[in-house]
């Protein structure tokens, strides 16, 4: 009998409210190794909120989150070792240069050859000329590239990104898409929020559209999934996240609304 695959990331009944406003309502999500789940939706749909819950930057009002079978605790060293995160709360040391930031991360994670890894990633993100610059002098695009580099310069099993295409130029988005595809093919699990169609189309194996929509209604055809709909690139159409009608569709790999 084939061993059942355990999800790298699993959420159950995840709910988050701000006062009377429910942003996320009973979100169930499973992400396996080699999968890339894209969160899409309008502004305010709850994409960033969901990501913040997943990385422990915020606490859900209900529900559980598990990473590799262990409950998600933001302070857990094991989870920090496995989860690489690039969301909006990344900070930089004002007095450490670009390469020193990456060197610190690589060594903190115990890489055998941190110098080689850092050099390689610096070349990839095209920040070699800025190696000796302090973060305060970088452009917003360069800071974004540095932030992305922090995810690739250390070991990871799960990658969580919030709108990683922000501030990147066209070439940068292209590079990012290729890199994430390669990571996924190597068995990394990826969850990312994005407004960039090319990135979503290229990288995602599943798309979760958050915000609005009523489960069960027929939706007009379009280029992408409509609110309330999850589109899987492996022809698995499943239910979507939160909705306003009180219905609680679930998202699972097996497909079909429940």
């Amino acid at each position: 009998m084939a061993k059942k695959r355990e999800p790298v990331l699993k959420t159950s009944g995840l709910t988050r409210k701000f006062g009377d406003f429910t942003v996320l309502d009973q979100v169930n999500l499973e992400v396996f190794a080699g999968e890339a789940v894209a969160l899409t939706g309008r502004n305010g749909a709850g994409k960033s909120t969901l990501l913040r819950l997943l990385v422990g930057a915020d606490q859900p009002d209900e529900g559980t989150i598990e990473v590799n079978g262990s409950p998600m605790f933001e302070t857990s060293a094991k989870i920090r070792r496995d989860m690489a995160v690039v969301i909006d709360d990344l900070d930089f040391f004002p007095d450490l240069s670009v390469v020193e930031h990456l060197d610190l991360l690589a060594r903190a994670h115990g890489l055998a050859d941190p110098d080689a890894v850092v050099d390689e990633v610096l070349h990839e993100v095209q920040l070699v000329p800025q190696s000796g610059q302090l973060p305060g002098t970088l452009s917003s695009g360069q800071r974004r590239r540095l932030a992305l580099a922090t995810a690739f310069v250390r070991p990871r099993k799960l990658l969580i990104l919030d709108e990683p295409e922000q501030r990147l130029d066209v070439d940068g988005v292209g590079w990012l898409a290729e890199r994430l595809v390669a990571e996924r093919q190597q068995g990394l699990a990826i969850v990312f929020a994005s407004h960039e169609p090319h990135l979503v189309e290229t990288v995602a194996t599943r798309i979760v559209n958050l915000g609005g929509g009523v489960g069960g209604e027929s939706t007009p055809t379009g280029d992408g999934p409509q609110p309330g709909q999850v589109q899987s690139k492996n022809v698995q159409k499943t239910g979507a996240g939160q909705n306003k009608s009180g219905q609680k569709p679930r998202i699972s790999k097996k497909g079909g609304r429940r």
């Binding site: 159950s12 009944g13 009973q26 169930n28 990385v55 422990g56 930057a57 606490q59 859900p60 209900e62 529900g63 559980t64 605790f73 933001e74 302070t75 857990s76 060293a77 094991k78 920090r80 070792r81 989860m83 690489a84 995160v85 969301i87 709360d89 990344l90 900070d91 930089f92 040391f93 004002p94 007095d95 450490l96 240069s97 390469v99 020193e100 060197d103 610190l104 991360l105 060594r107 903190a108 994670h109 115990g110 890489l111 941190p114 110098d115 190696s131 000796g132 610059q133 302090l134 305060g136 002098t137 922090t150 250390r154």
Partner: protein, 547 residues
Amino acid sequence: MSQTPQADRPQFHEGTGKPRASLEVNPDGVDESELLADIKHWRTGRATRSLGEALSRGYIVLFAMVMFGAMIANVIVTAQVSVSSCSEATCVSARTVLPWAAVAFAVAVALFMSRLFGPVVASAAEGFWLMDAPVRRGRLLGKRLYAVVIVVTLVGAALAALVTALSGASPAAIVMWTAASGLAAGASVAFAAAQQSNHDNRLVRVMAGLFAMVTLAAMLLVVAVAAEWVQPPAIEDKSFLIALIVATAGLVVGVLSLIIARVRLDRLRRQRLTSGGSLVSGLSGAMYALDLGLMNDILNERRFTEMGNVRVKTAAGVGLTTIIVRDVLRLVRSPQPLLLFVVSIVVPYVLDSLGLSAIAAPLSAIALMAAVLPLLSGLRVFSRSGGMARSLPFSPGQIKRASIALPAILCIIWAFAIFPAYLGFGGAVQRTIPEALVVSELVAAAGLLGAVRWTIAKPINFSAPMVATQAGAMPPGMITNLVRGFDIALLITVPLVFNLPWWVSLAIAVICGIVLLGSFNMAEMQHRAKQQQAEMERLKTGRGRYF
């Protein structure tokens, strides 16, 4: 002034055919004072009450200020009368040397602040809306320059008046040193303003450093006299003359620098003006929120953004060690915090020599806390937003402990350096060597933990429900946020002030250390408790888990 080219510009709007407004400029040029008058008119036109009306409504505050001011003045006068009759060597050295320290301190601080902010500043809005226009910047900013010089002169004078009065100087000496300090401070700001148009302000930085050294030397001399290593300089009778010379020099340098600064105002670049203005607005925003940590972050960020590039230093080690090594390399790159550290070593000796041994412990701890803060910049980044710490495969407690390893080592060295002061340097308090060592280590621990508390404390949460107070609604923790860090330093050292056994302070220090340097995360603990409670509820009702 040339006219805007009109040849290619359509004279009429397309569609409506209405004539376009002319872009011809006034051949007489711009009157900057009119511009300033317009801005003032627009601003004051929106005011709903005058300054007098506002003050009359706040008369209780005024009365309170007058009362407190009178009380403080009374204390100072009483202290002056009492100390002036003291003829011991320590008192003589204080009267002779401390005015020098006050003048040097005032000048050093004035130069430092001038280099940091300008001293002539313009807001970003002024930079965008006014500075790009063909106006003479000197006329726009002249009054601002004079105002800065006058304010600094008054503050410098007040500082020297306080120091000389408390050290028991004669009224004539107080007046002359007050004038000397004020004029010297004003002259230093005028000098910095004259240098502001230079791209390289190293001269101001060097002079600020020199005067800081003079301040330190003066404090050390007071200590040396108290320890009877040297005789007090026999210049007390010449104090008035020396003060007069300093005042005269300050006046001459100040006037000349002011003239040069005024002439050079027209050459000040917009970026040079508005960078200080942006800093002022950032700091004032942080000050409004009483977020001292944010103020420190803003200053740090600016300092290193100005630096721009560094020579890369590759760290060594893996795991937690690399954090410690990186802190060492950071200190090698910017060793200025070590200077502050050295200065803080002087404080217990100065306090002991001035007969303030009873409160030396808490004051020394606070001095050390101020010196350690610049060494905790790494911990600050790890704790303020969580993103960087989350990238590391360690618990928050491990990261905190690694981040304070280097400061802790320096604090241990500090403790050994200051323990003679707790032996009874000036003769006031006598302890055995082991006792003095223990007390000095406890003071060092208080300073270090106070600095840690200050660094990792969260900012005020303005979105939380407000608390009703006599002063109106306030967010919870607003006042306690101001004293964060100091609370820990005092908590550990106050038992020593009251001559309680040293182990009381030790126990408090250990508890503070466990709380501050552990992996406690209040939000996470509350969330776990909530989850457990929900689980209990589900088991009670037999509903099982979510699915």
